[in-house]
């Protein structure tokens, strides 16, 4: 089980050639402070009256558990609430073919939180109460991934391994009371729930011709920002200017248990691709999350319940061979506001 409430900070002391922490080492090597250290104290947006409850877990898949010796969980995630109903949720899925991808995914997540938080603060989005224009966000996200990748390369250089040994995918969701920013490299899924209770997809996974082929942060193809996969650019970045009442992001190990991914049309002998969050699945969990929150569950209680669900919550999750990360954030609004919309 991996906890996601606190931002993991990868400790580089194990088997290290120098004794400084990785964070210090990067500051030293890059000649600057991590962006988050320079953030300003901002006032919350007065209009935000709800509370985000965000549950996340990264659990080993069945094939990782039963391998001899067991293969570590190659997924990692982090959830970082910010001021005024803003927050960041990030996950990385380490490549099965990369020997150090479990370390790569954990390190990448920890760095990505700092880099994206730095972007939010630097641009004063919270204080201004605004989301960037799509083209601005696209450029910022592309540059952010380049920065994170550069850090992975620096670690690889220091450890005398190849950067590709740390290969992982990445999905970033920045949630705000009035919209969502997403950007990703690789596969997995993400979606959000609008204020009418309808769930929508917010990314298209980057898949190759074969179903288990994808692209990673350490791949070279996307660096110029014009590479396309599955009909979308890598990274694919979106600005959703619609108030979310819930959101989700997940690694590909969870997708067929949570999304409608497709069906075979027997009549026309054709597979129909779908990318639709399962309304029934997410609404059921949303209500349960709201309910335990109302009963006074602590963050720790919620994370424990959530880890158990992602590990073995139903037969499909229990039998999934791949590692599984599932993050679900719900907006616990004031009762009156939900009543206004006729929701229970």
């Amino acid at each position: 089980m991996r906890r996601g409430l606190e931002v993991p900070r990868y400790d580089h002391n194990n088997n290290n050639t120098n004794n400084m922490s990785l964070s210090d080492w990067i500051k030293n090597k890059m000649g600057g402070e991590d962006e988050r250290d320079a953030r300003k104290v901002l006032k919350p947006t007065p209009s935000f009256e709800g509370k985000w409850v965000v549950a996340g877990a990264s659990e080993m898949g069945k094939s990782h558990k039963t391998a001899n010796p067991p293969i570590p969980c190659q997924d990692s995630h982090a959830i970082k609430p910010l001021e005024a109903g803003w927050g960041i949720a990030i996950l990385c899925d380490g490549a099965g073919s990369a020997p150090l991808s479990h370390i790569g995914s954990e390190f990448t997540v920890s760095q990505a939180v700092g880099v994206f938080e730095g972007i939010i603060q630097k641009n004063n989005w919270i204080k201004k109460g605004e989301l960037p224009q799509p083209e601005v966000w696209q450029k910022l996200a592309l540059n952010a991934f380049r920065t994170i990748r550069q850090r992975v390369e620096l670690v690889a250089e220091a450890k005398e391994v190849k950067a590709k040994d740390y290969a992982c995918t990445i999905i970033v969701v920045i949630y705000a009371p009035f919209g969502i920013l997403t950007s990703h490299i690789g596969d997995g899924r993400a979606g959000y729930r609008d204020d009418k209770g309808q769930w929508h997809p917010i990314m298209i996974p980057h898949n190759g011709e074969e179903a288990n082929i994808t692209i990673f942060l350490t791949s070279d193809y996307w660096l110029k920002g014009d590479f396309e996969m599955s009909g979308v650019t890598v990274p694919e970045s979106r600005v959703i200017a619609d108030p979310p009442t819930a959101f989700t992001l997940m690694s590909d190990g969870c997708e067929s248990h949570t999304f409608e991914t497709g069906y075979f049309d027997e009549k026309n002998v054709k597979f129909i691709h779908k990318n639709t969050p399962s309304q029934a699945f997410f609404e059921t969990l949303r209500k349960q999350l709201l309910s335990v929150n109302a009963e006074g569950a602590t963050d720790k209680d919620i994370q424990e319940l959530w880890s158990k669900f992602v590990d073995r919550g139903n037969t499909k999750f229990a039998n999934e061979l791949d590692d599984k990360t599932l993050i679900l954030g719900i907006l616990d609004e004031r009762e009156e506001k939900r009543d206004e919309r006729g929701e229970k």
Binding site: A211, I213, K270, Q288, N314, L321
Partner: protein, 233 residues
């Protein structure tokens, strides 16, 4: 704590498919214990994948046998849609013809996946043989075809030698695997005694962990020490 566990029903989705095509040697040298153990292994493999909730909906199996002739005994089908045949040893060793038949078969199946827009995984062709191919079988030609096929990611090729197999010939037709940017031969493996049951158990587990990416292909297979001869950790 006292809170009720989370629970939710997952949606039903169509599973992406993969094919495992066995190309099995039924020449007369396989008669006796070898063919009996091979049959036992195949039957157990069929039971295992049928019982595995996930694999049963994903893995299509095909069986091609070669002796004096080449026959497709099982055309690609999900485990609950076919009966595993009982093999009988007879005749010579048309190994090259058998493997070519399997290559044509998996390519055809992939074309069907593509035509119907289905997501799929790279097919596996597993050759099981105990002897030398017949005179006149074009080993050099097959070797080039397998190199081309594996390097172009058309299929994964795994030759398995049973006691008495000419491992030099199997090495010649081994497939390729890219690791660290370099193409390496996936060397043939020799079965320890007649441990077919252990081998098929390994195949069953391996079918689910074939990993690949756009830039580095490698296959993280489960431990092979249970059945492979001379395996050392």
């Amino acid at each position: 704590m006292g809170f009720k566990d989370f629970s939710a029903e997952s949606p039903e989705n169509y599973d992406q498919k993969s094919i495992c095509c066995f190309v099995v040697d039924v020449s007369s040298s396989m008669s006796g214990a070898a063919i009996n153990e091979l049959n036992r292994g195949l039957q157990e493999f069929h039971h295992q994948i049928s019982d595995d909730y996930q694999t049963a909906n994903k893995l299509e199996v095909a069986v091609v046998q070669f002796g004096s002739n080449v026959d497709m005994l099982v055309s690609p089908a999900l485990p609950y849609n076919f009966e595993m045949p009982v093999l009988r040893a007879h005749g010579s060793t048309k190994l090259v013809d058998g493997v070519r038949k399997a290559m044509t078969l998996v390519e055809g199946r992939k074309d069907w996946y593509k035509m119907t827009g289905q997501p799929y995984l790279r097919p596996w062709i597993i050759l099981i043989t105990d002897g030398e191919p017949d005179q006149g079988q074009d080993i050099n030609g097959l070797s080039a075809e397998i190199e081309e096929g594996t390097k172009n990611k058309k299929f994964v090729f795994l030759p398995i030698g049973v006691q008495g197999a000419n491992m030099n010939i199997l090495e010649k037709i081994a497939g390729y695997n890219k690791k660290g940017g370099e193409w390496n031969k996936m060397m043939p493996m020799k079965l320890q005694g007649l441990k077919f049951a252990e081998f098929f158990e390994w195949v069953s587990a391996s079918m689910s962990v074939v990993a690949s990416s756009t830039e580095e292909e490698s296959v993280n297979l489960p431990d092979i020490s249970n059945w492979m001869e001379g395996f050392e950790i």
